[in-house]
């Protein structure tokens, strides 16, 4: 359990980080190389970027395939069904990621 939590919470190399875009090919300049950094960026990144990535399934893909956290990936996938827009996306994403972060940190 502790090992799995450490693995998910690790800091990734630059090429494995999540890069925030607002649309195809338009990079905001913001990136996250760990779950903690990802949570922090959710608070500030352009809302268009959150909408763009949520409905493309980019967040769940990165969390499942790179961070290897299937549980959080599933949570984020569920958010797509609610047709959220604007700040509601930011709020729900932040809640889901911060709750998971607290849970994993407590396992260390």
């Amino acid at each position: 359990m502790k090992e799995e939590a450490s693995k998910i919470l690790r800091t990734l190399p630059r090429e494995k980080a999540f890069y925030f875009f607002t649309s195809i090919g338009n990079y905001t300049g913001e990136s996250a190389a760990s779950l903690k950094e990802f949570m922090e960026k959710i608070k500030d990144v352009n809302i268009k970027s959150l909408e763009f990535h949520l409905y493309r399934g980019d967040f769940e893909k990165w969390i499942a395939e790179v961070l290897q956290d299937e549980e959080l990936a599933l949570e984020l996938k569920k958010l797509q069904k609610f047709n959220l827009t604007g700040d509601a996306i930011r709020k729900e994403l932040y809640t889901a990621v911060s709750n998971r972060l607290k849970q994993l940190t407590s396992q260390l």
Binding site: F21, I24, G25, N26
Partner: protein, 178 residues
């Protein structure tokens, strides 16, 4: 063709030969010579020297990708970079097969402008997200996908003083065409 400090200075005949080759690089030395009123051997010698000195870099084929059945998309990507890293970013872009042209430009910030070709929008995004955004020194990226091409041509040699077309206005050119 004269040598100036080990560099070539092209004369009017060289420029005319280049212009003829830009119109049709497959025409014979005889055809070019006839058109310019010079011997085909002169054309041959001048072309050879321009090839040897890299003035003529290569002979290639312009393909209409659409007619050839390719369904590629082309995009113009502007990469804003940290000035200290811009050379390295530009060099990395040059190595990518998806990138066909790379330029740098300095306006308010240092930018690299590149033309990118991809099979579809998803592949374009994948390339930019996985191969361009992670490069050290990349600050942000703006990409415009080209929807319609109005003109694509080789740049003409404009430094021949005897030519007046550069001084003409677009209206004058339009009137002459009519």
């Amino acid at each position: 063709m004269k040598l100036k400090n080990n560099a070539f200075a092209l004369d009017a005949t060289d420029l005319k030969i280049l212009e003829a080759l830009q119109e049709d690089a497959r025409q014979t030395y005889t055809a070019i010579g006839k058109r310019l009123g010079i011997a085909h051997s002169t054309v041959y010698d001048r072309i050879r020297r321009m090839e040897q000195h890299g003035i003529i870099r290569k002979y290639t084929t312009l393909i209409d990708a659409e007619k050839a059945g390719a369904k590629n998309i082309t995009a113009i990507m502007t990469v804003y970079t940290d000035p200290k890293e811009s050379e390295k970013v530009a060099e990395k872009l040059c190595q990518a097969p998806q990138v066909t042209e790379v330029y740098t430009s300095l306006s308010e910030e240092l930018q690299i402008i590149a033309k990118v070709v991809a099979e579809n929008q998803e592949n374009l995004h994948h390339f930019i997200a996985n191969s361009v955004a992670p490069l050290p020194g990349v600050l942000r990226i703006r990409t415009s996908i080209i929807t319609k091409k109005f003109k694509e041509a080789q740049p003409q040699i404009l430094n021949d003083p005897k030519k007046s077309t550069t001084k003409e206005t677009l209206d004058e050119i339009g009137e002459r065409k009519e």
